[in-house]
């Protein structure tokens, strides 16, 4: 992991560990666990235990102080959260897509920012190198990314080109054994600490190409974006390229066009579809427990019909979302999950998670706005998740186009 002086300051700051027990329990109203294998359940228990041990005690403080717990990159690697569904020989875990989803869900139960750290490394950096990279690129980068020795980031979005990446202006021009890279990327998770960046840029024919830009290449910088009120425990920055000379050996050999970056996004969106249900479950779990313990008018507030309505609707939506992603996972395991199906699940999970966070906040009353409970942190995080990896509206248009065959984007 790259550490510049600015980030060193963050890492050296004091993060307080909370002693309070994390009482989270999963919720499985429709016995969906019966559809999972022992491996899936063991993976879930392991990541849940890791989150309780490593994330919960520090996450509120990290979020409050906008400090990225960069020491957790190593822990995420050790637990196997980077590229769990990639082959073992390339630094992955050799697991299936459902296991990958479950891991993302447990991480996001802790915090969307922690899940983002892992999503980016696995789905947006390791996956494209595995899928589109040369054998030399795979061997050179994947084991180091899988072990957490290298941290990666993914550059597609630009300051003026978000939902419309095909209009990107970042470009490469051939120069002997190198390409000269110019342009800028924005909203890049992990960029200020990344050792490498998978960057998408247009070549001289206007075709989108993928390349691996390494820390230390002249003209390459990664300024941090400050002032975020969401995903505060995740580090975000820009990628700036000023005549960066990238060796041709760092360019993905065959992939051309938007298909390359979009296939990575499908992988990451799939993880988000599972992940945000974790945030929803944490909000529901906290609200259920709080409503049983909090008494008003001489009885637990869980006994009041309006509280029960909220809780019943929450678990209904969680259960529907759990079934949707489970089915999506079985399709993904067969290689049959379409990008449009992934869009539907990503959009649905984000929407229900955000609504559940807001309802849970109400159940917690005034306590819901404090960092004594995880609700507001999840709620603020989910505002980002609703927008990144394809905005809420764009995913709706993808579904719309899929069912009508008509393009509503243009």
């Amino acid at each position: 992991m790259y550490v510049d002086s600015d980030v060193k300051g963050i890492m050296n700051g004091t993060i307080h560990r909370r002693a309070r027990e994390d009482r989270y329990q999963g919720h499985d109203y429709y016995n969906i666990d019966d559809l999972l294998t022992d491996d899936h359940l063991m993976a879930r228990d392991a990541v849940r235990a890791w989150v309780k041990q490593e994330v919960t005690p520090i996450i509120e403080d990290c979020s409050e102080q906008a400090k990225c717990p960069t020491h957790l990159y190593k822990g995420l690697a050790e637990i196997g959260a980077f590229g769990p569904s990639l082959p073992v020989e390339y630094g992955g875990g050799g697991m299936d897509e459902i296991a990958y989803g479950i891991i993302m869900q447990e991480l996001e139960r802790g915090d969307s920012g922690i899940r983002s750290m892992a999503s980016v490394q696995g789905s947006l950096v390791m996956y494209p190198i595995y899928k589109f990279g040369s054998e030399e690129q795979r061997k050179r980068f994947l084991p180091k990314l899988g072990s957490g020795e290298y941290i990666g980031c993914f550059g597609l979005t630009e300051p003026d080109h978000g939902s419309d990446p095909s209009s990107m202006i970042t470009n490469i021009k051939e120069d002997g054994d190198h390409y000269i890279l110019n342009g800028a990327k924005m909203w890049i998770t992990n960029s200020p600490v990344a050792d490498i960046a998978v960057v998408w840029a247009k070549d001289e024919e206007g075709k989108i190409r993928g390349l691996i830009v390494e820390r230390g290449m002249e003209g390459f910088s990664t300024p941090e974006i400050h002032g975020k009120l969401s995903l505060r425990a995740s580090i975000t920055g820009e990628l700036v390229f000023e005549d960066v000379r990238v060796p041709k050996a760092n360019v993905f050999p065959d992939i051309r066009g938007l298909r390359g970056p979009l296939s990575c996004l499908s992988k990451a969106r799939y993880g988000i579809a599972w992940g945000t249900i974790g945030a929803a479950l944490d909000c529901y779990d906290s609200a259920l427990r709080y409503s049983m313990e909090r008494e008003q008018f001489g009885k637990p507030i869980a006994q009041f019909q309006l509280t029960q309505k909220k809780l019943a609707e929450m678990i209904t939506e969680i259960t529907k979302a759990q079934l949707l992603v489970w089915r999506l996972g079985t399709l993904a395991n067969k290689g049959k999950a379409t990008p449009a199906q992934i869009s539907m699940a990503k959009r649905n999970s984000c929407e229900i998670a955000l609504k559940i966070a807001r309802e849970a906040r109400q159940i917690h009353g005034g306590m819901g706005i404090t960092n004594e409970y995880p609700i507001m942190r999840h709620m603020m995080n989910l505002e980002t998740v609703l927008t990144y990896e394809g905005t809420h509206d764009i995913h709706l248009l993808i579904t719309g186009m899929d069912v009508t065959g008509l393009n509503g984007f243009k």
């Binding site: 329990q25 022992d38 491996d39 359940l41 063991m42 993976a43 228990d45 392991a46 235990a49 890791w50 041990q53 050790e78 637990i79 196997g80 959260a81 769990p84 073992v88 875990g93 050799g94 697991m95 296991a99 891991i103």
Partner: protein
């Protein structure tokens, strides 16, 4: 160094406890099971640490039906080399101890680890019975253990202090808190566990000397009664007549 770690399957700590069949059996419906934490966090992890330090192997042993395999696989995912399951219902402490003793005799292990107790029946019996059946030294409630050659130095907490013991292998040890720190299996370990050997053996003949007659739930907590500090007579009356403690 050949190490045997005996693990049991226990209900998850937040499980709702109920009984069935005229209160003579524990009702397992809807209950999630885990590896007994004393077996996992302390016995198994210390055995793995010793193996990493001294070489050798760690074998997991469980007495139970095929549905216990998930718990055994977790032990393999954490790092044990192989496992043996005695295919029988663990009916009583003595029955389980006799099964462990039979396997241990055959395997010739240097140390036989168990947790200090299981968190369901809390009997702390199996480890002592196993040692007796094997005619081996037994150290209970150990909080620290190191091995140099064939001699182990073991610490155990006693009233007001610590007792340090030396014992030669082979011996039986029950592990308590302090022996090691919990290890969380990683994804690679989970995948590797599927390929590690899990041998299933049939149970040896063993008599049960006890049977469970009935289980009862503890009385539910009664409401707290607030007594006015000025009314000490009422407090005394309640302690005398209702609580019957004075």
């Amino acid at each position: 160094m050949k190490l045997l770690v005996c693990v049991s399957k226990t209900p998850e700590t937040t499980a709702k406890i109920a009984f069935t069949n005229n209160d003579s059996e524990f009702d397992t419906s809807g209950v999630q099971f885990i590896m007994n934490p004393y077996d996992e966090w302390y016995a198994l992890v210390r055995a793995l640490e010793l193996k990493e330090q001294l070489g050798g192997s760690v074998t997991i042993l469980n007495v139970g039906p095929a549905s216990n395999d998930a718990v055994i696989r977790k032990g393999l995912a954490i790092g044990a080399d192989d496992a043996i399951r005695v295919n029988a219902e663990p009916k009583s402490s003595l029955y389980v101890a006799k099964q462990i003793a039979a396997v241990a005799k055959e395997g010739g292990y240097d140390v036989i680890f168990l947790g200090k107790e299981s968190i369901d029946y809390n009997g702390s019996e199996v480890s002592a019975m196993t040692a007796e059946l094997l005619d081996m030294p037994f150290i209970s409630y150990a909080t620290k253990m190191d091995i140099d050659g064939s001699t182990a130095t073991i610490e155990r907490e006693i009233e007001g202090g610590t007792e340090v013991l030396e014992v030669d292998t082979p011996f039986v040890l029950s592990a308590a808190k302090g022996m090691a720190e919990q290890r969380i299996p990683n994804m690679r370990g989970i995948m590797m566990a599927k390929r590690k050997p899990l041998k299933v053996v049939e149970a040896v003949e063993a008599n049960d000397l006890t049977t469970v007659a009935t289980y009862t739930m503890p009385p539910s907590k009664t409401e707290v009664k607030m007594i006015d500090p000025e009314n000490m007579d009422e407090l005394v009356r309640l302690l005398h007549e209702e609580s019957k403690v004075i």
